[in-house]
């Protein structure tokens, strides 16, 4: 249970919102729930729904909408390539396909060593610098703009060397 695991944090988050608008606490609570395993599991969604008096479906909708929440376990790094319209016009699809081919994975899959998961996402607000992606990992969220497959492979090599 989220409340039992992080009683202090949950209370602190809830205290920021007036009780009649407690549903607004859904975003910070989701971050909290995602902290340990990098994704929000079903039990945590149920917890949050109960805490905030909303339905589990509503919580899941938020997780589904934002690229920063995840409902499935992934590799150490998530590599989220924007394939929305402006990026697509600048070759994002081709970039993504080639990258996948190079890594031997499909979109949504994780490399064998468990290092990166490739995802395709909606606009990340860097349309003019496509192809672009963001990485989410232990070091937080980082933007990588005007990318090529070669430079991406170099980045992955570098990530391999990062020690915990």
């Amino acid at each position: 249970m989220l409340l039992e695991k992080y009683p202090k944090e949950v209370k602190q988050i809830l205290s920021k919102y007036p009780p009649e608008h407690k549903r607004s606490a859904v975003m910070p609570l989701l971050y909290l729930a995602q902290r340990e395993e990098g994704y929000v599991n079903k039990a945590a969604m149920q917890d949050i729904a109960q805490l905030l008096d909303v339905t589990e479906t509503e919580v899941a909708s938020i997780v589904g909408f934002y690229t920063l929440y995840h409902d499935e376990k992934a590799g150490k790094y998530r590599m989220q390539v924007c394939t929305d319209l402006p990026c697509a016009l600048r070759g994002a699809d081709e970039f993504l396909n080639n990258l996948c081919a190079n890594l031997g994975v499909k979109v949504g899959e994780t490399t064998e060593d468990g290092l990166v998961t490739i995802e395709s996402v909606m606009c990340l607000a860097a349309c003019d610098k496509a192809p672009m992606f963001q990485t989410q990992g232990p070091d937080g969220i980082k933007y990588h703009e005007n990318m090529t497959v070669d430079r991406t492979m170099e980045l992955i090599e570098a990530l391999k060397k990062v020690k915990e």
Binding site: T55, E56, T57, E58, A60, S61, G64, F65, M122
Partner: protein, 815 residues
């Protein structure tokens, strides 16, 4: 009256209330602006962009604040871009253009975009033929697409959202009407969007899936074939269906329905009901239905339908002629004189009940209403005034719900009461346990089972709640039978009537008392003079009994026993039941869908239903059978024309004076406008062309002094040690004979349950899901334990009609 605004749409001038949206104003002017996400019952969101139009407003001089004139006319300034008609409210002098090249291009573009991801599998789509997307594409689409036709996003096509509703993911156009209906109207946000952009998909994570008794409505307002009911899916093409106006028979709300029928090879060429659809009545069900009303209809086509009269010969029931069967019944009834008892239920129409009552009166017998609920005399006295419309209650009004779980007992009332609370009405829910309505209540009152009358009487004392109720402009009280039997409900009804009288909330529209009856026409039965009986077993024992439209043997072992000792039993019903099995004579009746008649709803609205399918076998309408028996007893009762029976009824029962079939069939314009060619606007709900019904005028509204009879409530039962107080509660999907034939609902009906407080469960050493035996007073049965921490530790909640015969609170052993 609210402020009015005048604007011009396509050169047509129209005046509408301030705040009206352009799309709705156009509809009022008879101009169709295409919409997908907009729905007149939902808040505007502007998500689909289908309704793009040109909007101009009078130009104001910034310096003077005056309207700028040009050639003697206000100068109109158009926005540079197209605007959505569904999000823009009207304003004075507005000019809207829906047919210009620019507007048309916008609309065309939106259709073109929507179709880039749509499978266009219309030939196998249930919506084909009544599909907004199909229609609007024909009317506003570009004809050809600039996109690559075979490059479409493919998604799952057969996704059960629960066992009642199926989703086709690639047909969804992401208008969110279904999500918004569940959130805004039903108050159960069990649908949501997952993901984003083209991948956006409808999901439901509730358990069971799509956990709402209003789920079917989303299939009516979904503008494509993305949502379909398990009941109608692949059932028929819309254009093959005939439509006939009817009334739902599942609860006292009396929702207006349309029965869609067609001839079917599977049924040996018979005409069968394919689906039940809502029919608009803004004062009753608006454009909605609950899932019980929509899906439970299968009982009328059940294999267990009685088709021929039968007479018991050598212990066995054997086929007989109508003449022989009615004659045998008549002879026995005549011979028994005062010992002739009629037991009839509120499943019957007003005309049937009236003929039965007349027969009892003429023959010197008694007619008893089969019900555990009293207070129908009081609803006739101080019931809601004629002109009541729950849809008009709001700020400054109050609604009190006592001993009833409206969500389970009368879902559309739950929905309407919830919406009244949304509009600002003070909702007070008084119930021993938490119900779904509590979430929307301004005040929740929790009393212990047994303290119902006290809880109502406490309104006499000064408190914040009683003040709010007393000073309300309008106040309505709903009373039900949660935890109460006949005596208890009678006492609660009388306490509620008193409260209403004391606070001046009777004798006017939107004020008064409503009974949450167990059957659709219980109110009608009370109106024609039938009343329930406290000791039914005693009343039946040794008598010649005429049982109509009910199954006492199947319901209650005590009644089964009493009927074993009856002189003679004639059973008239539509279905084979445990009671027909013990009958001396069985008389097959027609279902409501096979004949005409009227019901009186809990709000005392008399409404007509019409014949939609031909009768089963040789069955006849109940009132006809009764008149045939009467004739053999030398009693003359009308038995040919149902409307003549109604005329006689209207002549002899004061509240019905001046009513006639013609009056009940009258209609008035309603808003929103639905059910015409424009399915994209309001959905596939039917327009009401067959009558809005007429509300009876309660005695209190006629004038004169109102005297409310006091009912003494029997002392509260105190169970002994090691016993629990078993109390009856009501469940929507129960095992009643008019539900069980609908196999689709099996999962929601589930098993018999018993709800216990965690402490009680611990004391008994059982956990949730455990199977226990519950026994009291000659009755016993198995049930699955449910835990409810909102009840007290001394009670065990037992749902009615789930196999354990419970009529009223009783001390019980649970093992």
């Amino acid at each position: 009256m609210s402020k009015q605004v005048t604007l011009t749409i396509d050169g047509k001038q129209i005046t509408v209330p301030d705040g009206t949206l352009v799309a709705d104003a156009a509809k009022l002017a008879g101009i169709d602006i295409p919409v997908f996400c907009h729905h007149p019952k939902l808040e505007p969101v502007g998500m689909c962009r289908m309704c793009l139009v040109e909007i101009g407003r009078p130009m104001f001089d910034r310096a003077t604040g005056q309207i700028v004139m040009e050639n003697g006319q206000p100068k109109i300034q158009f926005m540079p871009k197209l605007e959505t008609a569904c999000t823009n409210p009207v304003s004075e002098g507005m000019v809207v253009l829906t047919q210009t090249a620019k507007a048309k291009e916008g609309q065309k573009g939106t259709v073109e975009f929507l179709l880039t991801s749509h499978p266009l599998d219309c030939p196998i789509c249930d919506k084909g033929g009544e599909c907004p997307l199909q229609n609007l594409t024909m009317e506003h689409g570009p004809g050809k697409s600039r996109f690559i036709y075979d490059e479409k996003l493919h998604l799952d096509k057969q996704v059960p959202l629960g066992e009642l509703i199926w989703l086709d993911r690639e047909r969804c156009i992401q208008c969110a009407r279904c999500i918004r209906f569940q959130d805004e109207i039903a108050g159960e946000a069990v649908l949501g969007f997952d993901e984003r952009g083209r991948n956006t998909q409808i999901v439901s994570l509730s358990d069971p899936g799509f956990d709402s008794v209003f789920s079917g409505n989303t299939t009516d307002i979904c503008p494509v074939g993305a949502l379909t009911t398990a009941d109608f899916r692949f059932g028929a093409r819309p254009w093959e269906l005939k439509a006939q106006a009817s009334i739902c028979t599942q609860c006292p709300v009396g929702c207006n329905t349309t029965l869609n029928t067609r001839r079917e090879a599977k049924a040996g060429g018979d005409i069968v009901i394919k689906r039940v659809m809502p029919r608009q009545n803004e004062e009753v069900n608006e454009i909605w239905l609950c899932d019980k009303g929509r899906f439970a209809h299968h009982y009328v086509g059940s294999k267990k339908r009685l088709a021929r009269p039968q007479i018991r010969k050598d212990e066995k029931l054997a086929r007989a002629s109508w003449d022989a069967a009615t004659k045998l019944a008549a002879e026995n009834f005549s011979a028994s004189k005062k010992d002739f008892v009629i037991l009839a239920s509120g499943r019957l129409a007003n005309e049937d009940l009236f003929n039965l009552k007349s027969l009892a009166d003429h023959a010197g017998g008694r007619a008893i209403l089969y019900s555990d609920m009293g207070g129908g005399d009081l609803t006739a006295l101080v019931g809601v005034g004629a002109g009541t419309n729950l849809g008009k209650l709001g700020e400054g009004d109050a609604i009190l719900v006592v001993a009833s779980d409206l969500y389970e007992e009368a879902p559309i009332w739950y929905l309407r009461v919830k919406q009244a609370a949304d509009r600002g009405a003070a909702l007070i829910v008084a119930n021993p346990r938490e119900t779904k309505l509590d979430k929307f209540a301004k005040f929740s009152i929790r009393y212990s089972y047994g303290d119902e009358v006290k809880a109502v009487n406490d309104f006499g004392k000064k408190s914040k709640i009683s003040d709010e109720f007393a000073k309300a402009k309008n106040a309505i009280v709903f009373f039900g039978s949660e935890g109460l039997g006949l005596n208890g409900t009678s006492a609660v009804a009388s306490a509620c009537a008193d409260l209403l009288k004391e606070t001046g909330h009777i004798g006017r529209a939107s004020n008064g008392l409503i009974g949450v009856w167990q059957r659709a026409n219980d109110q009608g039965a009370w109106e024609v003079g039938l009343q329930p009986e406290e000791d039914l077993a005693k009343a039946l024992k040794g008598k010649a009994v005429y049982i109509v439209g009910t199954d006492p043997v199947g319901d209650d072992p005590k009644l089964a026993k009493a009927l074993e000792g009856a002189e003679f039993v004639a059973v008239q019903d539509i279905l084979e039941t445990a009671t027909t099995e013990i009958a001396d004579v069985v008389l097959p009746a027609q279902a409501f869908s096979e004949r005409e008649g009227t019901f009186t709803s809990g709000e005392r609205r008399v409404q007509r239903f019409y014949a939609a399918v031909p009768p089963t076998g040789d069955s006849k309408p109940d009132f006809v059978i009764t008149s045939m028996i009467a004739k053999q007893m030398n009693i003359v009762l009308e038995g040919t024309s149902v409307s003549v029976v109604f005329d006689i009824l209207a002549n002899s029962i004061e509240a019905f004076t001046d009513l006639s079939y013609a009056k009940l069939a009258e209609v008035r314009p309603q808003w929103p406008i639905v059910g015409r060619g424009d399915v994209y606007y309001g959905g596939t709900t039917y327009e009401n062309k067959h009558g809005l019904g007429v509300q009876l005028v309660p005695a209190a509204q006629v004038g004169g002094t109102v005297r409310i009879p006091k009912v003494k409530k029997e002392a509260v039962l105190r169970p002994k040690e090691k016993e629990l107080l078993a109390v009856p509660v009501n469940k929507l999907y129960d095992r009643g004979v008019t539900v069980s034939p609908a196999e689709l609902l099996d999962e929601r009906v589930g098993e018999a349950t018993v709800s216990l407080h965690p402490e009680a469960a611990e004391r008994l050493g059982v956990e949730a899901g455990a199977r226990v035996k519950i026994s009291f007073d000659g009755v016993s049965g198995e049930a699955v334990v449910k835990i409810d921490d909102t009840i007290s530790a001394g009670v065990a909640l037992v749902p009615r009609s789930m196999g354990i015969a419970i009529k009223e609170p009783v001390a019980a052993k649970v093992k």
